[in-house]
Amino acid sequence: MSGQHSSAAEQTVFDVAVVGAGPAGLGAAAAAARAGVRVVLIDAGHQLGGQYWRHPDESTTDPTRLAGYRDWGEFLALRERILRHCQTGAAVHLASTHVWFVEPPAAGGGRQSWTLHLMPGGPPSRETPPRTVCAERLILCPGAYDRQLPIPGWDLPGVMAAGGVQALLKGHHTLSGRRAVVAGTGPFLLPVAQQLARHGVDVLAVCEANGLARWMRHMPVVARTPAKVSEAATYARSLARARIPYRTATVLTRVDPDASGTQVGAVELARVGPGGLVEKARQRLEVDLVALGWGFTPSLELINAVGAQTRIDADQSLVAVVDDDQQSTVPGVFIAGEATGVGGAMLALAGGELAGIVAAEAGHLERARVRALRREIGRLRAFAAAMHDAHPVPARWPQWLTAETLVCRCEEVAYATLGNAITELGANDARTLKLLTRCAMGWCQGHVCGYASASLAAGGQGRALTADDLRPLAKQFPCAPVPLAHLAGE
């Protein structure tokens, strides 16, 4: 270590370290700081907000252009509180910083705190950024990324994950595309279509793989979350106003290139019939942008790094097990937000705040608030469960694959290669399939193809996807890419 500027953050043992500055992390940091403990908030982004409150560079953007962001007032208030704690020195925000390794407290005596090993990612600053921070307790709020399914032609430029489209719109207000189709499943397709339309993109259709009938059986739960209902109504109105057709039980089965052969030109639409059977394609739409959203996959790198237990959730995502204090199975480690089950920003915020209060050991002082938060979490979780039940990934999705469809784009592994590994080489679990084909071993480390390859491995044995199928695809080390020299300790 250089030793010139060994930063102050490096020498402090914080009471609480919060990783992730989306709704869950902000809620957690604000609550813990208010309870009077020392907090360090670490996030890869250069501004607070995470995915949900991603916004253009504040130093160069007219603030009035941000006012229309969802729940923006909530964000501003949280940020205000956190910045105030940063000014008094009670909290420290490390922006543009990746946690690449989590070192547990020494077993039996010795150092009793967690050590987070950091990788600064932003532009070089005058101060030497800390290489590590120590904290007694951790609150992990790593969020989630788009879940994707392969489809023939999805490697063409112009095919994007729905969340990726939204991130571009939120973060830069730009997009290259004039005629779009939004497809997949779940309510998240609606805001993406709405935002595209707002930016002047002609959205030809929103294709929802499921029917809406399944929502009927969840009416009691829906009735308890009126905010969600009015949100859906708002989207429905704005889609109607923009004359965007909303097609249920409809999927994209193929993406074709345009005349140049280098970019999206058209998509094929097909109905999902009884028993989830994908029918023959019926319609073509000429588009230059395809946004695909199949729900979200929680980021589990940090959760695996601390060794917290995981389980499979209703939406077939691997998530962390937490108790009703957001406490994981590892003592001293709290987890909030999508990593405990995909459920949206308000659920994440509530879980984060609860984790912040309990991690700051202030639960007994804020009994009423804790109770209220638990109720809120229960209500929103029930809604999320209803949503997952109403919007499953179509069971027969592999039907639309062809032998050549790349399941893993990084390593260019085709569907036929996976099939061969399963039938000829005895790959009857996801780990073996991955190691035999290199599927999910490239740049994205399975973020893009992990769910698909796990579900193909399970399907190859004719059984439903389990946590054991997903676990080998969730990695542990490093939690973020780290240059060799940094790892070496230079």
Binding site: L435, L456, P478
Partner: protein
């Protein structure tokens, strides 16, 4: 895509076999292939999936360069010939590539030791070519400057261990072998006979398989399997980590390693040995091994080991300093106390054979081992004398020291 011969078949009622092979790692798969080729009815029992153990957790180096003149080197040369002669037609299935190895030394003393080692290896039949230090850059343009000596080993090669294991099992199945995954071996059926006991069956989580012979190819768990038959086999796990970088433009041409880093890192980290073995892969990622530690089956990532590996790699290839590590994996080498594998029948239990303890070379040595086991089981004279690899040597050593 129902898989034949995997779960589907493993659920079938257990039946008899001439030979049961325990463990579907590289060694077990090679034994199964060569035994089936000789006409034995073979049944492979594996508690996990294909190559669930060490064979999926290492690199695929097939080296002659890292073995000092002796029995292990003889086995390595025998195995190397098996790869490129008898198994040549399958080379593409497991991505066999004779890319050659380059061993380098930084200090004058280490350089002298390296050239001496190479001279001994040459006498035993290794193609080892001393490289003029000024010409090292012609082999590896990005290697650090100022190295004292280097030796080029054209025979050093590599395979993809998973594809190797899965394809050997496929070839074995085509020759009539049965492969059961998810079959955990929990004990043996032993029958008393004149002068001791004989194994007549293997008990598994899926039922009992009766058999005439058992080959224990349990990798680092071989000791536990031997214990089920009531015999001691001193094979222990020795942990190793490997780092994998992001895909890079071609940076490294050979398998490159420096012997002396072993010594230099040993002093700093008690019980931890690290030597940088660096190689580029076809997909552009660079594999960087590896560490050696006796920590039982503890798989948690250990920062000191990972740091030491990174240090050694950057020292050898300064250009790798900025390369980002994408992932890392841990594995357990089957370690045998005298660094020689255990290959042959166990005199204490009739019908019990061992094929294991290859430590950091079990992929490279797998096919030679399998071939020798098949010859011994068929009662033939083996191509290499198995005496030095006999399990009996541990008992002899113990009674000598007692």
């Amino acid at each position: 895509m129902q898989a034949p011969g995997s779960n589907g078949r493993s659920a079938a009622a257990p039946r008899g076999a001439d030979v049961v092979v325990i463990g579907a790692g590289a060694v077990g798969a090679a034994c199964a292939y060569f035994l089936a080729s000789k006409g034995f009815a073979v049944h492979v029992l594996e508690r996990g999936g294909v190559a669930a153990g060490s064979s999926s957790a290492g690199e695929g180096n097939v080296l002659v360069s890292d073995k000092v003149a002796g029995y292990e080197l003889d086995l390595a040369l025998y195995s190397r010939a098996t790869w490129s002669e008898e198994l040549a037609e399958y080379a593409d299935r497991w991505e066999f590539e004779a890319k050659g190895g380059l061993v380098v030394a930084a200090s004058a003393a280490a350089g002298r030791a390296l050239l001496e080692l190479a001279a001994g290896q040459r006498q035993r039949g290794v193609d080892a070519r001393d490289v003029d230090p000024v010409a090292i850059g012609d082999f590896e343009p990005h290697i650090r400057a100022g190295l004292a000596a280097a030796v080029h080993y054209p025979q050093d090669a590599q395979v993809q261990p998973m594809l190797l294991t899965a394809n050997l099992l496929k070839l074995a199945r085509e020759r009539g072998a049965l492969v059961s995954t998810g079959a955990n071996v929990v004990g043996f059926d032993l029958r008393p006979e004149a002068g001791g006991r004989r194994v007549v069956g293997v008990r598994t989580s899926q039922g009992t398989v009766s058999c005439g012979h058992v080959v224990n190819a349990g990798g680092p768990w071989a000791g536990a399997i031997a214990a089920m038959a009531g015999v001691e086999l001193p094979i222990m796990p020795r942990r190793g980590f490997v780092l994998v970088t992001e895909p890079l433009p071609p940076t490294i041409n050979h398998k490159v390693y420096a012997g002396e880093y072993v010594a230099s890192t040993q002093s700093e980290n008690l019980g931890l040995e690290v030597s940088a073995v660096v190689e580029g892969t076809q997909s552009g990622t660079v594999l960087i091994g590896s560490s050696r530690e006796h920590v039982g089956f503890e798989a948690a990532m250990s920062l000191p080991a990972l740091r030491a590996i990174a240090n050694a790699a950057v020292a050898l290839f300064p250009r790798l300093a900025g390369a980002r590590v994408l992932r890392s994996y841990a594995g357990f080498r089957p370690y045998s106390p005298d660094h020689l594998p255990v290959i042959g029948s166990d005199a204490r239990v009739a019908g019990l054979w061992h094929a294991g303890g290859h430590e950091g070379a079990g992929i490279g040595l797998s096919v030679g081992t399998g071939k020798l086991i098949s010859q011994a089981l068929a009662g033939e004279v083996t191509d290499i004398d198995l005496e030095p690899f006999s399990p009996a040597r541990f008992a002899a050593a113990a009674s000598a020291s007692a």
